[in-house]
């Protein structure tokens, strides 16, 4: 017999978490392939390497009133929150069957029915929105929380500070998940943040902050659990900092001139949250190689299907260019 205590999660749960990790990875890597092959025209911010942040956090959002607010690097958050990958892939292709009818694209994926209040093209645009959703949770007393994902570059936007302070003052169940991948575009977080001590700075606003290794899904899962629980119980906002590398450039096509030679390859080798997850569950024996292979197969199939469906999906009609600007006008 294996040691299930090692993770404290059931086999079904582990399979589901793994499915999410693998789906995000496959989704992102396939976009990269499609872009390189010239089959996708826009620029995409891929989250390979950071999957465990999204999955570990969203695993705790089981109240229908829970919401997340994502950012430009949002595919992983959306998938972890349960957005349909076919509808997402169609959106990335600009199909009228895309999750946003092809009007938003990669940086604006939203699925209001799943409490996904939108990726965001504006760095730092999300946190105030999450404070508002959390305020709604509080006013309604529905037990929901609102989680916002932001990067280690976004933390220096004024609106982010305002949001943190206001969340504390209004004591709303907002959770700020800061994904530290060491870069904001081509510049390091270490350079951009005065003290380099993001945790102390965030805490000084009056938020308890937990810092965690984002390459370890179990660590993220556990920490996110307490942080979200804290907010859900009405104790006000909280913060979580997840450290995990991004494997790709800032966007597809980034020449990465600013990045030390071999840094990304090294991260793929030593700091891959999926490898780490696999090693862990195999070591504890909770999952077998066959279990994992089965998920891998299903995931590849799902993404294959999504890519194929997206390629064949209907294109928007140009006459709809100004549809849905208003509910009524």
């Amino acid at each position: 017999m294996a040691e299930p205590e090692a993770t404290g999660l059931s086999k079904d749960r582990l399979l589901e978490l793994y499915r999410q990790l693998a789906t995000i990875r496959e989704f992102e890597e396939r976009i990269n392939v499609e872009v390189n092959a010239g089959r996708l025209a826009s620029f995409y911010h891929l989250s390979s390497g950071q999957e465990a942040n999204a999955v570990g956090v969203c695993a705790h959002l089981d109240n229908p009133a829970d919401t997340i607010v994502s950012n430009h690097r949002g595919h992983g958050h959306c998938i972890a929150r349960g957005a349909d990958v076919q509808a997402m892939m169609k959106e990335l292709c600009g199909s009228s069957e895309g999750l946003c009818k092809g009007r938003g694209g990669t940086m604006h994926i939203a699925d209001i029915d799943r409490g996904l209040l939108g990726a965001n093209g504006v760095v730092g645009g999300g946190p105030p929105i999450a404070v508002g959703a959390a305020l709604a949770n509080k006013l309604r007393g529905d037990g929901g929380v609102s989680v916002v994902f932001l990067g280690d570059g976004a933390v220096n936007e004024g609106a982010v500070f305002e949001a943190m302070n206001m969340a504390v003052v209004l004591s709303v169940p907002a959770v700020f998940v800061i994904e530290d991948n060491k870069y904001g575009e081509f510049t390091t977080g270490a350079y951009m943040t005065g003290t380099g001590d993001l945790r102390a700075r965030t805490e000084s606003f009056g938020l308890g902050v937990t810092e965690v290794d984002g390459t370890d899904l179990f660590a993220v899962h556990e920490a996110a659990g307490s942080v979200i629980d804290h907010a859900r119980r009405g104790n006000g906002p909280a913060g979580l900092i997840c450290h995990a590398p991004r494997f790709h450039g800032h966007f597809t096509g980034d020449p990465e001139d600013y990045r030390p030679e071999g840094e990304a390859a090294e991260a793929r080798r030593d700091s891959d949250c999926i490898k780490i997850f696999r090693a862990r569950v195999l070591a504890t024996g909770q999952l077998t190689p066959d279990d994992l292979a089965a998920v891998d197969g299903a995931v590849t199939e799902a993404i294959d299907a999504a890519v194929a469906a997206a390629a064949a999906a209907p294109r928007p009609d140009p006459v709809d260019v100004a549809a849905d600007v208003y509910v009524s006008y």
Binding site: H108, I112, P128
Partner: protein, 337 residues
Amino acid sequence: MPVKDMRTAINEALRQEMEADESVFCIGEDLVGGFGTDCGKDQGNAGSFGVTAGLYSQFGGKRIMDTPISEAAIIGAAAGAALVGMRPVAEIMFADFVTLCMDPLVNQMAKFRYMFGGKTTCPAVVRLPCGAIPGSGAGPHHSQTIYALMTAIPGLKVVIPSNAYDAKGLLVSAIRDDDPVLYFEPKALYTESCDVPDEPYAIPLGEAAMPREGDDVTVVAFGAMVPAAIAAIDSLATEGITCDLVDPRTTSPLDEEVILESVEATGRLVVVDESPPRCGLTADIAALAADKAFWSLQAPVKQVTAPHAPTPFATELELAHIPSPERITQAIREVLA
């Protein structure tokens, strides 16, 4: 009918909509006052202009809440709360400070529905006291109108009442509307009164009013310029010159029909706004006429605006900045010359 000033009319609309719908709440700076103090009263000053007086006593801190001085967070929070179905009414203390919350207004609220594929609504209202109070010396940072900038933004609706009656009915509609609405309150009109029914009533967004009717010239005026235009028009009436006065009441959506019908009838157009002239509402209306009512036009279309300059402090300069009834009269005469 009871006579009320615009401040009271707005207060009444807020109170009645809050009574009618639990999802309506107010958020902003110093709407209540006294948060964190022990002032021994139910509330402090109730805002810079007293518009929110009495709401805290009636509804408490869950329905009307003061915030830190953080405009981006206030409007961003209104956006987020509205996206999940609440009906926030946020206040920016002076319209001049939209400079600090343009992102949640322009990139977030305004674009949610479109970029999310038509699947969301954002029923937020943002109240913005705006414009100059002639003689008050509010100066360059406390006198701007801002509403033309917002009219330019697809996804936002823009309301500019010109009297207490409209102020109430339009705010009721704004709160009930499922799109984000920027509701501008011309500060110069807060103390102006007219008949305002006690019961709630809604004036549809997108329907112009026509406070004066005449044959010779169409005058279109916005907000605080409506009373100025009325003064100008009434003075000319004694000479036998009569004008249509169109008060669009909302600039987005805009009631093009009423404007165009009037211009087609009179053949002459004067557009009046207290904002500076470039890329503004007066140009917008003039250009509309130059396209769609061109064949009816019998004279150059005149715009009466502030100069291309910030609003000055000194009373003499401030009064020179804001279009006067005399300047409106002169423009009407010009298009009749």
